[in-house]
Structure formats: C-alpha cells, structure tokens
C-alpha cells in the first residue's frame, strides 16, 4: 500500500487536503466520485491505505442500475404504506450508494447482519425485494433464509445485530475459515445513533480482542430519529475505532465507488485474518426516519437541499454521461425497468395472503416439541369453536 503521499492521491482540488495524514478531528473523507460526477483516480485513508476501483463499463452501468432500482422499489414501499398496505416502512432514500457499494463488495461466502433499513444490501444479496414488505405488512417474519443468502433477518432492536455479528465472526475465525484470500468475512450494519448503544461498544471490544473477521459498517445518516449527530459524539465516529484498537475510515457514503472500495478492502483484511475495522459511511437520510416520523419538525430545509446536491444517483449519472459510458437510451431503459419492477412489486404485495393464525406455531422450533404440539392442538380447537370456521 502506498503511504499517504498527497501527490499520488488523485486529481481534483479536494483530493490534496483530504489525503494529508494525522489531522485528528479533520474529517478525512475517502471519495472517488465527486458530487459533480468527477472521477478521482485514488484516495488515501487516514492510515495511508490507498483506495481505488477498476470497473468495466458494464460494471459501472450495473451499479447505476442497482441504485435506481433500489430507490424506486423503496419509493413504492413508502407509497404502499401511505395507502394503508404496510404498517410501517423505513426508507433508505439518500443512502443507496452506501448500501449498494458495500453490498456489491460482499463475496458469496460473506455474511451480513442488517438493520431494518438495509433494503439495498438485501437487493444486492439476491433476495427478492418483496421479502421485507411481508414483514412490514405483518403477514410474515421476513421470509428469506439467512443461511442461503448469507443475510441475517432484519434486526429492529437498535445495535443488537452488531453483537450477533461479532459472535458469528468469532465462530468463523475459530472454524479456521480465515487467513486465506478466499476466507470468510462478516459485515455488521448499523447507524450513527446505534454507536451510543452499549451493544455496539461491547461488540467493538469483543471483535477487537478476539480479532474477529468483522467489518463494522456505520451509515452515518446524521440523525438518530430526531437527534442530530452532535448529540451522539464529539469526535468523528470513525475515530472511535482507534480507542478499541482497530482501524477506522470515513467514506463518502453517497459515492458508490468509494463505498465499494473501502468495504472491499476492509472485508479482505478481515478474511485474511487481520481483524475488524470500522467504516463510517458519511451520508444523509433524505426522507423520514420511518413513515411515522416528520423530519420537518427537527431539521431545516436548507440542510436537506445541501445534501440534495450530493445525490448518489445524480453524480453517477453525470459520470456515466460525461465519460460516454451510458447514453440516454440506457437511462430510459433503466427507468422503465424500475417502473415495471415497482408495479410488479405492488401487485405482489396486494396479493399477499393473510396467514392462518395457527401458522404462528410453525417456526418456533425446527422440529417441534410436545408442549408446542399441545398448544397448537388447543389453539386449533379454539379456532374451530367459531361458527363458520373452515376447520
């Protein structure tokens, strides 16, 4: 790895000060694509690591397609909630690049532990995007197989999944599945608000001292519901890693290329047995915390506008256009695909059957238990005591 030499850290007027080392408190933001869509060759992290990506044109277009699809499906889910078809929805609007970048950096064998907002990562893992809608409609518990897709169930409890991920990663390490270039790594997603939870700090301690192959991926979207970042921390979040004994880096979370590069590097370190690291993806939640929230009550319009100018999709589109990697036909085709998939998503959500009450016993134990069987029988009898019951 080239050490932090300002001369090699790429072009663009913002590259030089960013790559300077040792400026504690100065937010060093790893960025490979500026908000204007200007490509930066490489960027240097606070520990001197040099980040770069080398994508084919097809891969660049693929990332753009991911971003647009993920945003459109998310918007459809928000609309469905407003129309009474979902109980709740946590929109990822504005955070697409952090999720797609990190999600695409995962290898097949890597395990991910999401919060309830990781619809973009879920999409990248190849899971049917309808799955979380069943959860938020209240007709199932999520529905995908975490082992098959290497993507755990959504965790609603703030920060709890970082401990699950730590334990899982310690297991991977103990099983000897690390230490090679094809080793396994684990990623845990959480937000800026979760960093104030005991769970996350405990996870930092355990992952650090047991050298767990784990990447802590924090999407700092600036708000813990209504609490701004300055109520969570007095230092940039990525610097907290230093106190726990592992590296931390802040990446432009609205830059899909940098998010990919930083995550891939951290995952590779983990799979090689070099222990955990923390990524702070610096981004912004453009929408509400959930559909039950009204962000205009705690943040000002000018702040939202400032972040609008840093939109992850607009900068990727500008880059693809300027570099002639994609043309108007491609963009129109992606929009059309997004529209078709969102209509399809809607139709399937509306057609989701309400589960039979008795199915609540189905997934308590993998092979049932005598006590559970008795409860199920009693409940079935009770349901049959009603007039007109089909049972």
């Amino acid at each position: 790895m080239a050490k932090g030499d300002p001369g090699v850290s790429g072009r663009g007027r913002r590259a030089a000060p960013r790559s300077r080392k040792g400026t504690t408190g100065d937010p060093q933001l790893v960025q490979l694509l500026t908000p204007e869509g200007e490509r930066i060759e490489s960027a240097t992290g606070p520990d001197g690591t040099e980040y770069r990506v080398d994508f084919t044109d097809e891969e660049y277009r693929g990332l753009y397609r991911d971003l647009v699809l993920v945003r459109k499906l998310d918007a459809e889910a928000t609309a469905l909630q407003r129309q009474g078809e979902l109980g709740l929805w946590a929109s990822l609007l504005g955070q697409e690049a952090a999720q797609v970048g990190s999600g695409r950096a995962l290898r097949t064998q890597d395990m991910a532990f999401p919060t309830y907002r990781e619809h973009g990562v879920l999409y990248c893992r190849g899971i049917d995007p309808i799955m979380p809608l069943g959860l938020f409609r209240g007709v199932d518990q999520g529905g995908w197989d975490p082992n098959e897709f290497k993507f755990n169930m959504y965790t609603i409890v703030i920060g709890a999944q970082t401990l699950h991920a730590t334990g899982y990663a310690m297991g991977v390490h103990m099983d000897g599945k690390t230490g090679t270039e094809d080793g396994e790594a684990v990623i845990a997603y959480f937000g800026d608000g979760a960093t104030s939870q005991g769970d996350v700090n405990e996870a930092f301690v355990w992952a650090s001292v047991f050298n767990a192959p784990l990447v802590f991926f924090c999407q700092n979207n600036q708000y813990a519901i209504s609490e701004p970042l300055e109520r969570q921390t007095r230092v940039p979040l990525y610097q907290r890693a230093g106190g726990f004994g592992f590296p931390g880096v802040r990446v432009d979370g609205n830059d899909v290329l940098a998010s990919y590069a930083v995550t891939r590097h951290a995952l590779d370190n983990a799979r090689l047995g070099q222990g955990p690291s923390l990524i702070e993806a610096y981004t912004y939640r453009m929408g509400a915390h959930t559909t039950s929230d009204d962000p205009t009550r705690y943040r000002i319009a000018s702040e939202v506008e400032a972040w609008q100018a840093k939109d992850p999709i607009a900068r990727m589109k500008a880059f693809l256009t300027n570099q002639q990697i994609a043309d108007a036909d491609f963009f129109a085709a992606v929009d059309e695909q997004a529209r078709t998939e969102s209509v399809h998503l809607r139709e399937r959500v509306l057609a989701m059957p309400n589960p039979e009450p008795v199915t609540m016993f189905d997934h308590v134990y993998p092979n049932g238990s005598p006590e559970l069987d008795e409860q199920r029988a009693r409940f079935t009898n009770y349901m049959e005591s009603f007039e007109g019951s089909a049972h």
Partner: protein, 485 residues
C-alpha cells in the same frame, strides 16, 4: 370489483385514530395517476402527502379541507375506468363543495370481518364501537368492545355480554345495545373509564363523575374528557387573543352553535389546561410611564438606516425582556421534575393572532440579536404567521413569551404560561393618562405590564425584580442601556 373505488384514510403512523385534511391536491373530475399525491393529511405525528392508490378520475371528495377524519373513513372516490362511459348522472361532475356522502355499501363494508383477503383496504379499517376506529394492518389501539365472531352453539347475545359488567348491577336486564343512554352514567355506581382515559382526565383536571359517557356501557371516552376540558378552558382563558375564523355564528333551532374542537384551538386548549393545572402561576402588575420610550422610538424611526424597518413599541418590550433576562437568568428556565433547566439562550415567543387561531412562534437565540436584527426577526415572524406558514420548528423550543394584548385595546391580563416556560409577559395598551411627572399631574403615555411566572422556580422577589427591570428599561431605555450594558 366495482370500477368506483373509495379510498379510506389509513393509519399513517402506527396507532393513530384520526387525521386532519390539510389540503386537497386534486379536485373532482381530475384524471390522476397511480401514486400521484392527492391529499395532504396532518396527524398527531406528521403532515404527509398520500399518493393515489389507483389511477383514474376523481369521482367525489368526501371531506373538505380542515375537517378531521377518523382512520378507516372513505375520503375520496376514484373511477378506475373513466373511459367506460357515465355511471350515474347525479354524481358525475358534482362539485367538490357538494361533499357527497360515502355510499352506504362502503360504510357497511368496513364493519364486516375480512372475508376475501387483505386486498381491499375497507376490510381492514373501519369504525368500531366506542368512538374508536379499528386500524390497519395490525398496529395501534384495539377496542375492547370489538365485534366477536359467534361461537358454535352460542345463543345470540350482544358482544358486551362477554365484557366485565359493573359489579353493582349484575341483575339488571341484559344490555341490549351499545349506546350512551343505557343507564350507566354519573348517576350511580362507579364511573366506567379505561385507565388511559382516567389518566387523561387527571392530567386535564376533569372530574369523571361530572361527565356522562358516550362509550360502550356508558363508559367515558377520551373524546368526552377532551370535550369537557376544552369547554372549561375556553371559558377560563383570559387571553382569547383571536376569534376563530368560524366566529360568524350560525345558530340552529335550539339557538346554540356547536363548533368542533380541532387544530390550533384543540392544541391551545390542551396546552393551556396542562400548563394551568401543573405550573403554579403568580401574576404581578406594573404600570409604567413610557413617554420617553415612545420618543426614543420616534427618534429611531427618523434615522435613515431604520427607514424601512417596522418599529413598534413591542420591539422595545422585547429588548427590555431580553436585557432583563441577562440580569436575572433564572427566569429563563424550565421545571423538569427533579431539576431546573436554566437556559443560556432565549427563544423569545411572540403570541400572534392568526386566522387559524393563536400561535406562538419564537425567535431563536434572540438574546444575541442586535436591535435591528430583532426588529427584522419580529417582522418576519409576524408576516410568516399571518400567511399561515409558521412551521412547527418555529413554534417549538420557546423559552419565554410576550403576549401583546394591548393591540386589542385592553390594559393587561394574567397570561397562562406556555408549557415548559417559566415566565410570560402581557403588554397592555399604551394610553395617554394623567400621571404625576416631576411633581405635577401631566398627560403622559402609560402602559401596564402583567408578568405571570412559575412559582416553583421563581419566587416573588425574583419575579418582582425581573418585572421592575423591564419597567425601568421602558421608562427610560437610553439610560437603562447606558447603565446595564
């Protein structure tokens, strides 16, 4: 499915029971697309836009802007196949103002149990007994008196038979139907009310025994309590700064008018009764000769750089309050149970009468502003309030408030503290009065200040000194400025 579909107001935020229609973004006859925003609805949690659930043509709008609608009630009807010819001459093209009622079929539909899956929203939400509304997809309040499916072998009895019955009257004839007039009430026996309703009544200072319930078995509902509380405070509120826009009375045959309590009126009522019954108020008065201050204002107005600035006596009062806070920081504080939070910043609230009612936006960190900045901020605040654009953020976080009752021509009042604040100043009219000035009775310009403060934090001594300093500034602002700053 019928081509005319009615859209019911969904539960927009995990357990809400109602929403207020802020604005319709479409009108009858409009052709709309799927997910096109059709209406802006404000709930207790958020103001949100609702996107259209179907593409088509707007057939009818059931509730006007400003109305409060229960979750599960149809708000709009959409013709999903407008090209297929007219449906019925009487409804097509009917103006929105006509507000046709939802079809009987749709109202009936929302009351039956779901039988054909979850596709139709009307099957999920719907009016439920007890004044509550059943909510969508499993969130939120449930009514205990919900319809129960008949059990095999049961004789048909009303649903309430399964509910606990008041212990004193077990032998009374079996209850026949839900309704307010079934014998249970304030007259005898224990008062029926759910624990949250009892808590609400306690918070609002309402005696449950004085109410007659409109809920099942005559139980008292939230609405009953809130109605009683707002009736009491509306009568008691000394500073009814603005008459609601609906003040033009339209009396029925009984020569009484019933105005629904909602929006700003409802919020004001809740805030005022909460404050009045939690913070022990003390009010003190001070009459001040402000002739010099009025002259100082004239001099200010005549300065070139102040030419375009709105300079009012309220500006000087605001400045007086801000300077006096610096001398007595303790008045700018909040009672937080086991601690007192004293603030180094003053978010100065200015009570404003608007068409929507009384609102109190505040000027953030007003203590740091120069007089000129303060004047501009006050002008902005009033303009924004008058045009109805004051945002919730502008109204939250106030630390100390001025209410300018003088503009209505009265001398002073005993204002009620906004919740969370410890002092509020009423500024009365400035009148020419006989006044002893330099040993002689002369016509002078005089005003009366009324300061209410929270006695849990502020004792008479501090309150008096604070009020005295405000008065001292207003008696001679220039001298006070020289002496204090």
């Amino acid at each position: 499915m019928s081509r005319i579909k009615e859209f019911n107001l969904p539960d927009l935020g995990e357990g809400l029971t109602e929403g207020e229609i802020l604005a319709w973004l479409v009108k009858v006859g409009d052709v709309i697309e799927l997910n096109q925003p059709i209406v802006e609805v404000e709930t207790a949690k958020a103001a949100v836009e609702i996107p259209a659930k179907w593409a088509g043509q707007v057939q009818a709008i059931f509730h006007p802007e400003g109305s409060t609608v229960e979750v599960g009630t149809p708000i709009i009807a959409i013709d999903t196949d407008p090209g297929a010819g007219p449906i019925e001459a009487s409804t097509t093209g009917a103006p929105a103002a006509a507000l046709p009622t939802p079809s009987a079929a749709s109202l009936a539909a929302v009351q039956v149990a779901p039988s054909e899956g979850a596709v139709e929203p009307g099957l999920i939400g719907g009016p439920a007994p007890g004044g509550r509304t059943a909510v969508l997809v499993g969130y939120g309040p449930r009514t205990t008196a919900a319809k129960r499916r008949p059990r095999k072998g049961d004789t048909p009895v009303p649903a309430q038979a399964a509910a606990p019955v008041a212990p004193v009257a077990p032998a009374s004839p079996a209850p026949v139907a839900t309704g307010p007039s079934n014998g249970h009430g304030p007259a005898g026996g224990p008062v029926l009310a759910k624990p949250p309703v009892r808590k609400l009544a306690k918070d609002l200072g309402v005696d449950l025994a004085t109410l007659s319930g409109s809920g099942p078995l005559g139980s008292i509902t939230r609405d009953d309590v809130q109605r009683a509380a707002s009736a009491a405070t509306t009568a008691a509120e000394p500073l009814a700064v603005s008459a609601p826009a609906t003040a033009v009375a339209s009396f029925g045959a009984d020569r009484e008018q019933r105005i629904p309590v909602k929006g700003v009126r409802k919020l004001t009522a809740e805030n005022m009764s909460r404050s009045a019954f939690t913070a022990p108020h003390v009010t003190e008065f001070l009459t001040v000769d402000v002739t010099r201050a009025m002259k100082a204002l004239d001099r200010l107005r005549s300065r070139r750089e102040w030419r375009d600035v709105r300079v009012s006596p309220l500006l000087l009062v605001a400045k007086a309050v801000l300077l006096a806070v610096k001398r007595h920081p303790m008045v700018n504080s909040t009672w937080a149970g086991d601690e007192i939070v004293v603030k180094d910043y003053v978010n100065l609230g200015i009570a404003a009468a608007t068409e929507r009612g009384l609102i109190v936006p505040n000027i953030k960190d007003a203590g740091r502003l120069s007089l000129r900045e303060l004047a501009d901020a006050m002008t902005d605040l009033v303009q924004t309030a008058k045009t109805g654009k004051t945002s919730p953020a502008d109204m939250s976080g106030g630390t100390l408030t001025i209410t300018n009752v003088g503009v209505f021509g009265v001398d002073t009042g005993t204002p009620i503290l906004p919740p969370g604040e410890s002092a509020i100043l009423a500024f009365g009219a400035v009148r020419e009065m006989p006044w002893v000035h330099k040993g002689k009775v002369k016509p002078r310009q005089v005003t009366t200040l009324g300061l209410s403060f929270d006695h849990r934090i502020i004792d008479g001594e501090l309150g008096s000194k604070f009020l005295r300093d405000i008065g001292e500034f207003l008696a001679d602002p220039e001298a006070a400025l020289l002496a204090w700053t």
